[in-house]
Amino acid sequence: MNKLPVILTVNGREYKLTVDANERLLDTLRQQLRLTGTKEGCGIGECGACSVILDGKLVNSCMVLTAQCHGSRVETVEGLGTASKLHPLQQAFIDYNAIQCGFCTPGMLMAAKALLDKKPDPSEAEIRQGLSGVLCRCTGYKQIVDAVKAAAREDK
């Protein structure tokens, strides 16, 4: 198996990496860069826990090889906000109790961010569609949809 050079910009910081041919973007983020906010759930593109924004598009990082991302920009949950200065979506998730076990939360936040980046004022149907690729087994989705609605209002 060959190794390949990759230049990747993650949350605004450029990394020059060498990756195995079969290394997934998810593995690079978690293991090489120690950005463990992005979670591995199913590993087959069904649950969305590993969702990140790649060149402006929401993707499952378990289904992208890092070597396919040479020259790309990646946004992960670590780039959203800091503990002292939360992103409006993060604050809304707290305010609306949109988190229970928390495992899907990074994926939900990135899906919500990708949606609001494209549609700052989404309808409830658009929010539900935007989040439809991330599974949550705790909340029943209601609080999450409400949180995204609130964050969209906040942004205006």
Partner: protein, 288 residues
């Protein structure tokens, strides 16, 4: 995941050279939503080389020329769902692309991959069959065009040779007089594989008689296919409830002729209703 060597050709020519060299030990990687999963499950141990074509911008296009639409195989489902050219000239393909998987899958999965993977449930295939799409296959130094129905030869099987790559999909835009329908049934509304889908295109004359009909179901046959027996029921007619129902029954008959299984008693009324709704959608009449 399996171990393999990954190649990142900078041009289509380079990619075709690599395919010519590696032949059946190689697979072409685009969106990866099917291939990377199968490489994880060790069902592809013959694969030693992966040719990543995601950076070949020359394969990523939607062009409208002389009332034809030409698509590059790297066009992702989200682009197809949002494209004004496709929504206007082939609305059923846009509707099918919009129904696939999740936003994440639609941002990554490509139309070329959907065709080459040739899953029986592939959502873009019935619309493309109804549109009479042809596909361009290229190998180093030569190319050929095949009608899509000849290209797909069975479940997960195509006429693609080991050194060939799908490089274009083309079809005529629908005339303004034509109506279309696309219906899909799955276990959930999102992130679910189609249990059945059906694409319909009907063109009518000024008196409302059907002058051309395409009815192409997927997931209920060994491969998606047009059903002439169903189309003939509507041809030359101003379809009423009875005719529309008969066309649905003809699709169900094609399904049961392809094989019966435990789920067939459930699927028969479902495919009839789904076909009826797709026909009514194409005729722009209420179906609820």
């Amino acid at each position: 995941m399996l171990e393999f060597n990954l190649y990142r050709p900078g041009t289509l020519q380079e990619a075709l050279k690599l395919l010519a060299e590696f032949k059946s030990s190689a697979r072409v990687l685009a969106g990866g939503t099917d291939l990377l999963i199968s490489l994880g499950s060790r069902e592809r141990e013959d694969v030693k080389n992966i040719i990543d074509i995601t950076s070949l911008r020359e394969l990523d296009f939607i062009r409208e020329e002389d009332s034809r639409l030409r698509l590059g195989p790297l066009t992702v489902h989200a682009q197809i769902a949002d494209s004004p050219h496709i929504r206007q000239g082939a609305g059923l393909l846009a509707a099918a692309a919009a129904a696939i998987g999740s936003p994440q899958i639609r941002n990554r999965g490509t139309i070329g991959g959907n065709i080459v993977n040739a899953a029986v449930c592939a959502d873009t295939v019935p619309p493309l069959l109804a549109l009479g799409a042809t596909v361009k296959l290229e190998r180093l130094g030569e190319s050929r065009w095949l009608p899509l129905e000849e290209f797909i030869t069975g479940p997960n099987r195509t006429g693609l040779e080991a050194d060939e790559m799908l490089t274009e999909i083309a079809f005529a835009k629908l005339p303004a007089t034509a109506g279309w329908g696309f219906m899909r049934l799955a276990r959930r509304e999102a992130m679910a594989i189609a249990r059945m889908n059906v694409a319909v295109i009907l063109d009518r004359d000024s008196r409302g008689r059907v002058v051309s009909a395409c009815i192409a179901p997927g997931a209920v046959l060994a491969s998606p296919a047009r059903i002439p027996a169903a189309e003939n029921i509507l041809l030359g007619q101003c379809p009423d409830e009875e005719r529309i129902h008969q066309a649905g029954q003809a699709v169900a008959a094609a399904m049961t002729a392809a094989g019966r299984r435990w789920s067939t008693p459930y699927k028969e009324p479902a495919i009839i209703a789904l076909t009826e709704r797709a026909i009514k959608q194409a005729l722009e009449v209420e179906w609820r």
